[in-house]
Symmetry: C2
C-alpha cells in the first residue's frame, strides 16, 4: 500500500498554533508557498472558498446596494499617491514599483496597494451633476503590498486577492448609512458563511485607514488570543474628493463636494476560517463554504464488493447536489481514507458496508465533532441538509462561546495586563488618547481593536493613564 503525501498533521494546535496552522493549510492542499518569496499559490480547494465568498458578497451588493463591478488598472502613477498626503504616507513603505525604464515621462508606476487614487481620478471625469450620484463601484482584483515581515499563508503575503468597493454620494447621511450597511454585510458574511463570529466597531484615530474620516471594522479572534481584522469600511469624508477634484453641480446649481466611502475584504478571511475551526486532524470547513460537502466511503470486502459499490454509487447520485466524493479506491484501507478526508476538511463522511446494507442504513460521521449518526438510506436526501445545517450552527456556536469567554472587562491596569498576558480581549473604559494607545502597545503588546458599534455606558478613568474614560475600547494582541 502506497504511502503518498497524505500523512497527517504532526503538530498540535495547542502546542504551536503557528506551525500547526501552516501544516493544515499546506496538507489540506488549500495553498502552497510559491518560489517567489512572500507570495502564495491558492490551490483549487482554497480558491473554491474564495469563489463562495465572491458569490455570497456579489449577491449582497449587486442588487440590494446597487453596486456595479468594474476593473481599474494595476498601475498607479506616483503623482496620484501624492494627492492625498495621509494616504500616501500610510502606504509608502509597502508599495512595489515597476522598472523605471518603462515610464518615459520620468514618473514611477506603482503596483496597486489599494485603488482609491486611480479610481477617483476616473470619478473626477465621470461625475458632473447630482444626477450622476450615487456612484457605486466594486472590483475584485489582486493587490500588491511589499511586506517585509515573515509571510503567513492567507494572512500576510506580498500579493493577495480582495474586493474593494468605492462609492460617492451627494450627502453625508447616505454615505455614512452605506458605510455602516457594508460593515454589517461583512459581519453577516463571516458569521453566516464562515461560521466565524466577530466584534464589530469603530477603529481608533490611530488605526483608521490612511486618509479616512473614520473606519469601521470586523474583528475575529483566533484561539491564540490574537485578533484578526477581517474587513473594514471607511467613511472617507470629503478629503479624497477635494484632493482628486471630484465635484458635482448640486440641486441648488452650486458646485459641491461629494462624500465617499471605500470598503474591502480579502483572501485573509480564508486564513481566519482555517485557523479558527480546524483541529489536530486537519482542516475543518463550515459546510456553507466547503465545495465538496460529503465523502462516501464504501467498505469493500470480497463477497459483497459489488452490491456495496452499487449502493454507494446510487447514494452518490442521490446526493449529487452536495458535490460528493466517492472514494472507492482499493489501494488504501478505510482507516487511511478516513484520515485523508478528515485532513482535507470534508464536512460529512458516509460509511457504507455489507452489514449496513443489510439494515438499509449508512453511518454518518460529522467532521466538526466526530459524532456518528446511523441513518436509513431512504431518509438520506431529506436528512443531509439538516445535518449540514446543524454542523454549520455547531461550529458557529462553539466559536461564539470561545469569543465570549475571552472578553474580559478590566478596571485596573493590573487586570488589563493580566487579561492580555492570558491572551484575552480586554474591554476597557478608555481615555481615547493616541499617546496612551501607543504606550499600551509598547508595554503589553495590545493594540486597540474597536469601539463597539452599539453604544455602551462609559464610566471611571482609563486604567492605563488615569484620565477620564471617554469610550469603551477592545484591546488585544493581533495578527
Amino acid at each position: 500500500m502506497e504511502k503518498k503525501s497524505a500523512q497527517g498533521i504532526t503538530i498540535r494546535k495547542e502546542e504551536n498554533i503557528s506551525d500547526w496552522y501552516e501544516q493544515v493549510c499546506l496538507k489540506s492542499e488549500l495553498v502552497e508557498f510559491s518560489q517567489v518569496k512572500g507570495t502564495m499559490v491558492i490551490r483549487p480547494r482554497g480558491y473554491a472558498i474564495w469563489q463562495a465568498i465572491q458569490d455570497y458578497f456579489n449577491e449582497k451588493i449587486n442588487k440590494p446596494l446597487e453596486v456595479k463591478n468594474a476593473y481599474f488598472p494595476i498601475f498607479i502613477p506616483e503623482s496620484f499617491f501624492k494627492k492625498e498626503a495621509e494616504h500616501a504616507e500610510g502606504f509608502s513603505p509597502e508599495v512595489a514599483w515597476i522598472d523605471k525604464e518603462l515610464t518615459k515621462d520620468g514618473e514611477r508606476l506603482a503596483l496597486r496597494p489599494t485603488s482609491e487614487t486611480i479610481m477617483y481620478d476616473s470619478y473626477s471625469r465621470w461625475i458632473r451633476s447630482y444626477r450622476d450620484l450615487p456612484l457605486k463601484i466594486n472590483q475584485w482584483c489582486n493587490i500588491i503590498r511589499w511586506e517585509t515581515n515573515a509571510t503567513k499563508l492567507f494572512l500576510r503575503s506580498r500579493e493577495f486577492l480582495w474586493q474593494e468597493g468605492h462609492c460617492v454620494y451627494e450627502t453625508e447621511k447616505e454615505c455614512e448609512e452605506d458605510t455602516l450597511k457594508v460593515i454589517r454585510y461583512y459581519q453577516k458574511l463571516t458569521e453566516e458563511l464562515l461560521a466565524m463570529p466577530v466584534l464589530i466597531g469603530k477603529k481608533s484615530e490611530k488605526e483608521k485607514f490612511a486618509g479616512a474620516k473614520h473606519t469601521y471594522t470586523i474583528e475575529a479572534f483566533m484561539p491564540d488570543g490574537k485578533a484578526l481584522q477581517c474587513g473594514t469600511s471607511h467613511n472617507l469624508g470629503q478629503g479624497f474628493a477635494k484632493a482628486f477634484g471630484i465635484s458635482f453641480l448640486g440641486r441648488d446649481e452650486k458646485k459641491t463636494l461629494p462624500w465617499q466611502n471605500s470598503w474591502g475584504i480579502s483572501t485573509r478571511l480564508i486564513g481566519g476560517t482555517v485557523m479558527l475551526h480546524s483541529d489536530d486532524k486537519g482542516l475543518v470547513l463550515p459546510p456553507e463554504v466547503a465545495q465538496e460537502k460529503i465523502v462516501i466511503i464504501p467498505l469493500l470486502f470480497k463477497d459483497s464488493k459489488e452490491t456495496v459499490l452499487k449502493k454507494a454509487k446510487e447514494i452518490y447520485k442521490t446526493l449529487s447536489k452536495f458535490n460528493p466524493i466517492l472514494d472507492a479506491s482499493e489501494e488504501y484501507s478505510p482507516g487511511w481514507k478516513y484520515s485523508n478526508w478528515e485532513l482535507k476538511g470534508i464536512p460529512l463522511r458516509i460509511e457504507i458496508g455489507p452489514r449496513d446494507l443489510e439494515k438499509k442504513q449508512v453511518i454518518i460521521v460529522k467532521r466538526n465533532n466526530g459524532e456518528k449518526i446511523v441513518i436509513k438510506i431512504d431518509k438520506l436526501k431529506q436528512e443531509i441538509p439538516r445535518i449540514l445545517e446543524q454542523i454549520q450552527n455547531e461550529m458557529f456556536e462553539k466559536a461564539k462561546s470561545l469569543l465570549d469567554s475571552k472578553i474580559k472587562l478590566v478596571k485596573s491596569w493590573k487586570e488589563f495586563e493580566k487579561a492580555i498576558k492570558e491572551r484575552n480581549i480586554a474591554k476597557v473604559n478608555w481615555c481615547e488618547n493616541t499617546e496612551c494607545e501607543i504606550s499600551i502597545k509598547e508595554k503589553i503588546g495590545a493594540s486597540t481593536r474597536c469601539i463597539p458599534l452599539e453604544k455602551e455606558k462609559v464610566e471611571g478613568t482609563c486604567p492605563h493613564c488615569g484620565k477620564p474614560a471617554k469610550t469603551i475600547m477592545y484591546f488585544s494582541k493581533s495578527y
Copy 2:
C-alpha cells in the same frame, strides 16, 4: 434642457472604423483610457460583458471538463522563463519587470505575460503518480504585456483580463482531445453568447504559441476585413514537462513524461463583439451578454402622465428578470432618450404613451435593425423572450453572411493580391513554408490565420511560390 455628454457618434463606421470604434467604446461607457499610458479602465457596462463570459465559460469547463479554478502569483522569477527556450524568446520583448531593489537575491521578477512557467513549477511538485492525472486547472487574472504599439481599447493594451487553462495528462490522446474540446467551447462561446461567427483551425508553425507543439485558434473577422484572433488552445506536447521536471510514475511503474495543454480567451472578445455588431448610432450588443436587456420609455404628457407612468412601472416589474431600465426622467425629450439608449446598446426599447395605453399595447423597437413591433401589454411577458432570441439570431446570421461573403478561394497570385487588397480572407492552397509565409506578409500585409479543422481537399501549387500545395490556409490582414 441640459445637454450632458450623451451626444452621439460623430464618425461613420464605413468612413473610419478605427476612430468610430473608439467613439463607440467610450461613449457607450464600456471603457475609458486610464491616465497610465497603454492601460484602460473597464467600466461597469463593459465589465458586465466580461462577467457574462466568465459565467458562461465556467459553466462549460467546471463540470463537463472537470477543470478547477485556482490562483497563481503575478510575479515570475526570470530563471523560470529561461527553462523553456522558445517560450522565453517569444515573450521577452513584452515582459515588464518590477523594481530591482525589491529582489535582493539578484533575480529579476517579471509581471506575468502568461503563467505556464510559474504554474508548471508547482505542477512539478504536485504530480507524482498517474493517479494525480489528469490535473486540470484554470485561472481568471490580469496579464501584463508591455506593448509598444498604439493602445486599442480591449484589443491591445498593456494590462488585460483573461482566463488561462493549464492541464496535464497521462496520454497524448487525452491531451489532444481536450485541446480540441476547448477550442470548440470557445467557438460555441463566441457564436452563442457573442453572436460572433469564427473560423476554427490550426495555426502555422510560425504563428503557433512559443513552446507549443501546435496551436488551435478561433478567428473572427471584422467589417474592415481584418482578422481578430479570439481564443487559442495549445497542445504543448512534452516540452514544458521536460523543462520543468514534471514526471509521474506510470501504471508500468516507470518514470514518464506527461502531456500538457494550455488555452485562453481575454477581454479582447469584448472589443470584437463591439466592432462587429455596432453601428453609426452606437453600441449594438447581443441580448445574451447585455446586462440590461430592455429600456422602458413612457411618453409623459400633462393630462395622462400619472396613468402612463403607473403602467410603465407595472411593465417594469413584470419584466424584472430582464433587468430593465425605466427612464421616466422629465428633463429630456423622448427623442433624446431614444438616442441615448441606442448609443448605450440596450437591445430592446419599449415605448408607451397615452394612445398605446388606450389600445392596451406598447411599441417595441429592436436595437439591431430598428424594426418596430406593436404588442399587447398582456402578451409582453411571453413575447419578450422570443423577440430577444430573434435579435440574437438575426445578429449572428448577419455576421455569418458577412464572414461567408469575405472568404475568397484564390488560385493565382493576382487573385490573392486582389482578395487581400479588397479586404477579404484569401482561402489558399498553400505550400506550408515559413519563408513563403514571411514573404507574403511583407508583400501584401496578409498573415496566415488558420488551417481549417475540417479536412478539405488540397490541390495544385502555392499561388505565391509555386511549390506544391500541402494544406488549405486562410490568409488575411489582422489586428
